[in-house]
Symmetry: C2
Subunit: 402 residues, 2 copies
């Protein structure tokens, strides 16, 4: 009993050192201590243990320091080969599989076109098992072990039970995917909402430090959100919090992919924009209910080039988005709203109408100091977040068990 508090602080300090090395790269022991408020003696002891376990390595002492002056110090870094994780991103008509090394870097990425809406639950599990097994063989050629798998999905997930509740990429609901894959691969399998993966990457970026209550809105086929409260994703009672896309703009309004009417997504999601646009514009052929990136680029180009019909459609989407944001601001009053996702390609065409709608909807006292900014989209960001979340969870689990 007496050593409990000490063990628990050792556990936290070890995780903090690993996390700093993962987020900031190679560092000297003394700087790791300062950054995390840990004594030098403790950092030395922790790093000795990690070195012995092969989880970190020392850089040659003559390596120039990234910045700063004075006598060069020995830097330590995470050993990339010590372990790996696999992140699988499931979105409409696409499966992406990525291998992340122990330092959190992406080492391999592959994309597969899959008619996701035609899959049965059994098809999906078989497909995941096959593709993960292939990627695992590849990954284990250059990493000592696979410590975890992350399934990052667009839609509503119950992270605690590993159940996919509902995704626009699938035509079935309530699939307990994580337990099945855990059994198959013998390692922890996390099921995460794609927006939470992205938020966990953005939250570590220096530009967004100082905003503890952060909403990340993901525009795309659907519209997702992650709410970070004091830096931690807020999941709600069953993990389905932050469903911004299905908050309401217009009761009884446009048909949404969820089956209900008037959701923000039914105006500002890719499919909603394309649905409106093809009534009045010449657009590339293809699956217009699930427009591809090329189709959406073509539509966005029209708006950017000044086509009045396209501009009106994006402005209407911006207005719905603005009313949704107004509710978010009234209820949550976040420090910062970051708008990203593939649909951020059309943000410039929506922004003015969005801001006008917020001003129309809310008195300035309720808009408050919240900043709303867009952030360029990187299609690998979801998987990078999934890698980071999985490495952190499995590090924590390993330390608790040891």
């Amino acid at each position: 009993m007496a050593s409990q508090p000490h063990d628990s602080s050792r556990h936290d300090n070890t995780l903090a050192v690993i996390r700093t090395l993962r987020e900031q790269g190679p560092a000297a022991r003394v700087d790791l201590g300062i950054l995390n408020g840990i004594s030098s003696a403790t950092v030395t002891s922790i790093s000795a243990e990690l070195l012995q376990q092969g989880l970190i390595a020392e850089l040659p002492p003559d390596t120039p320091r990234p910045s700063g002056r004075g006598r060069p110090k020995t830097l330590i870094q995470l050993a990339p080969e010590a372990a790996c994780v696999i992140c699988v991103k499931l979105s409409i008509n696409e499966l992406q599989l990525v291998v992340g090394d122990y330092s959190g870097q992406m080492q391999h990425s592959e994309h597969h076109s899959v008619a996701t809406l035609a899959l049965t639950p059994a098809d999906l599990v078989a497909l995941l098992e096959e593709k993960i097994a292939e990627v695992r063989s590849l990954a284990l050629a250059s990493h000592r072990r696979l410590v975890g798998i992350c399934l990052a999905v667009q839609g509503v997930v119950a992270s605690h039970s590993g159940t996919l509740i509902w995704s626009p990429a699938l035509s079935f609901r309530n699939a307990a995917l994580a337990p099945l894959l855990t059994e198959r691969f013998g390692c922890p399998v996390l099921l995460e909402n794609d927006a939470n993966c992205i938020a966990s990457v953005l939250a570590t970026q220096p530009a967004y430090a100082g905003y503890p209550n952060l909403a990340v809105i993901m525009l795309g086929y659907g519209i997702g959100m992650s709410l970070l409260i004091d830096g931690v994703p807020f999941l709600g009672a069953n993990g389905s919090a932050a469903e911004f896309g299905h908050s309401k703009y217009q009761p009884g309004g446009a048909q949404c992919a969820c089956g209900k009417r008037g959701c923000v997504e039914a105006y500002a999601g890719d499919y909603a924009l394309y649905r409106k646009a093809r009534e009045v514009l010449e657009l590339p052929a293809g699956d217009s209910a699930h427009p591809s990136e090329a189709q959406m680029q073509a539509l966005t180009q029209l708006a950017m080039q000044g086509n009045p019909d396209a501009q009106r459609i994006f402005a209407e989407a911006g207005r719905a988005l603005g009313y949704g944001m107004a509710n978010l601001l009234a209820l949550f009053n976040p420090d910062l709203v970051l708008v990203t996702g593939s649909g951020v390609r059309g943000y410039a065409a929506m922004q003015e109408a969005m801001q006008d709608a917020i001003d129309e909807a809310l008195v300035s006292e309720l808009i408050g100091p919240t900043r709303i900014v867009s952030c360029p989209w990187d299609r690998d960001m979801t998987c990078l977040g999934g890698i980071a979340i999985t490495l952190q969870a499995t590090d924590s689990q390993r330390l608790t068990e040891s």
Copy 2:
């Protein structure tokens, strides 16, 4: 440095003991230890210190135990006379002043009719100073000292800076009330949102234990909300989170007291119900823009007695409330939504339409396990919450300083 962790745990344990005595009444030392996970030796030491400070007293050993069997144990209780706090509740056309003793009980309450909307900032400060000074004299006759004052206000407050940003009871905005009163009375003055006061009382009730993410919706002239996340009121970036009443039901819809259109409050607030009703119904004369409780009772009676116009008006309000709840559920997915406030008198006439609207708005996966229940209204609950919050804050401050 070495003794820091020990001091901080002593501080937390002392606060826990005081809080338990305040919420649950007289208790034996051994039970205080079990309830709070503290050793008997620590409880004995803490209670010795509190006894010496005159903050607690022992009950005579022959006092029968409230429940249970076995040898009677000496119970301790908070000494009511050890300190007092004053809570001032400011709402439309009314000022309530309450004295709370150190055990958290209300010892005095007075109501004053005041034309609040006609007050200038200077009028309000002068009025508060006068009324608080009177009540303070009264309170100090039977309590050793005044440790704090709470101003509980309907509307948006920035608790950190003690600034009242905006209240439907006042015609001015942005008044730094708490600093002025702190200077005048020489004790801490807290400015709190009325819904947060009520939520802090409800959250301690056994019936609502086990719901860490709790939304309390206050129906009345306006519609307020408090969001508790892991039991702690969520304030957002500038303290204006949880403004449920100004989330949107219908873009460009009914005129709201805030100056904008289409807010949930503009359909379901007392003034909105009465505004609609007087177009078609014979109702008691009076200030129909700020209907009194008697006026609202008369309107509610009509609906309860089956008047179809009155029923339709409450059903429309219920629909707006339901769409507001749908957004709350989509964004926050709380464990429990408690509906209370004086306006809960009309809840039975709104409930069916509210539930229908939620079902119309959200797929069942997003409604999830959230329970929505109403809770009878007690007009003193705001002040009881203000007393509890102020006692807790001032206890914590005293322990930090000592």
